[in-house]
């Protein structure tokens, strides 16, 4: 910043109190000197369309699974749920990594966002398992009461 008269301290203060994105440029402004028609830009656009293709294909696979379940009797519930969730998580991964540019951030920031969400996955599993168990307890309890009332259990 030698080409003007502001001292360094003043500039930093200005950036902190004003527009911080100039202080922390991140992935911004690194390409401003190139044009949108440059080879680097075109390679990135190509990548965006390839990810679009992946997302569309994954959605089609999910739909195929949905139709398979609709037209076939007695599909395995656990297998179908796992099937849908694997592809859902794959889609989420691509959107967050490429479209939201989280893959371009520093490792510390990726961890800050992702690790708490991974702990949240445990929360989901715990609740669903608990509900499933409660249903089992509930139905087996009422079944026992019914059996007792009809004299099956002495």
């Amino acid at each position: 910043m030698g080409h003007h008269n502001h001292d360094t301290h003043h500039d930093e203060l200005f950036y902190y109190e004003g527009d911080q994105s100039k202080l922390y440029s991140g992935i911004l402004n690194h390409h401003a000197h190139e044009g949108v028609e440059s080879a680097g830009s075109k390679a990135k656009i190509r990548k965006i369309w390839i990810i679009t293709l992946y997302l569309s294909l994954i959605t089609l696979i999910e739909l195929a699974g949905g139709f398979y379940e609709y037209y076939n009797e007695g599909t395995n519930r656990v297998i179908m749920i796992s099937f849908f969730f694997i592809f859902t998580l794959l889609k989420a991964y691509l959107i967050v990594k490429v479209f939201m540019h989280l893959g371009d951030e520093v490792r510390a920031f990726i961890n800050t966002v992702i690790i708490p969400l991974l702990i949240f996955v445990w929360f989901i599993i715990a609740f669903l398992a608990d509900a499933d168990h409660s249903l089992h307890m509930n139905t087996s309890f009422w079944q026992q009461m019914k059996d007792a009332a009809t004299g099956i259990i002495k």
Partner: protein, 245 residues
């Protein structure tokens, strides 16, 4: 100038963002993180109710119509359309962000416009679906009274045979819970889409007026872009939870 980080440890010595991100962008990420917890809690309560119920409405029988389709039996068709619209609007948004990186005002304007169009088409589709379900008697707190609702009426939302060994009370409870969760979660998501469209329109106006060109960067497009991608991300999960599983 602030010192440039040479090693990873010196990032944390002050004078610069250790995350190499602006305050506004970090806060957008943290807001989205909390929003993910809110949506997560809603989807988990839906899943818990479902796992705790003897029977649950089947998406292929609840969502089997599309506009102007009459009584055609077409499971998954309309929601696939909605999903593709939202994915494509996410793509146009990331292209707007990309144009912003290269200070390409015309590109940002064009792609933001397409993103807004996609958002409006999605909202219109959701409106149609809500109205359609409402005509079939579904709303918050519908199907509560065992004296007025019959099992035959509820059967349209279930796979044939699923209600055979279930009491009317259990069928009523499951149907009510299903629609309460459906309208609450897709409604909460729809409000996000609506506010996303409003944000995009605001950003578009600023772009056209040259606000970001004068500022020297298009970071606001990145921030609303993050929000818009998050809305798409939530729909990916809503799609699976309500329409596929």
């Amino acid at each position: 100038m602030h010192p440039t980080a040479t090693a990873n440890t010196s990032r944390w010595n002050g004078g610069q963002s250790p995350f190499n991100l602006s305050y506004g962008k970090i806060m957008m990420w943290f807001f989205l993180f909390t929003d993910a917890l809110t949506f997560g809690a809603l989807l988990i309560s839906n899943g818990t109710k479902r796992f705790f119920s003897e029977v649950w409405p089947n998406a292929n029988y609840v969502f089997r119509s599309y506009p102007f389709g009459g009584d055609t039996n077409a499971p998954l068709v309309f929601v696939s359309f909605m999903t593709f619209v939202l994915i494509i609007s996410s793509v146009t948004m990331v292209l707007a962000v990309h144009s912003g990186h290269y200070m390409d005002k015309k590109g940002v304007t064009k792609w933001l416009l397409w993103t807004i169009v996609g958002g409006v088409i999605f909202l219109a589709s959701q409106c149609w679906e809500w109205v359609h379900l409402n005509h079939e008697g579904a709303w918050w707190g519908s199907f509560l009274d065992p004296n007025t609702v019959t099992k035959e009426h509820l059967a349209q939302f279930y796979k044939p045979g699923d209600l055979d060994n279930v009491s009317l009370e259990a069928a009523l409870a499951s149907t009510t819970n299903f629609f309460n969760f459906f309208f609450t979660i897709t409604g909460f998501h729809g409000v996000h889409v609506l506010s996303g469209v409003v944000f995009n329109i605001m950003i578009l106006i600023n772009t056209v007026n040259g606000v970001y060109e004068r500022r020297g960067h298009y970071e606001m497009v990145e921030k609303t872009g993050l929000y818009w991608h998050f809305v798409d991300l939530v729909w990916v999960f809503v799609f699976t939870v309500f329409y596929l599983v």
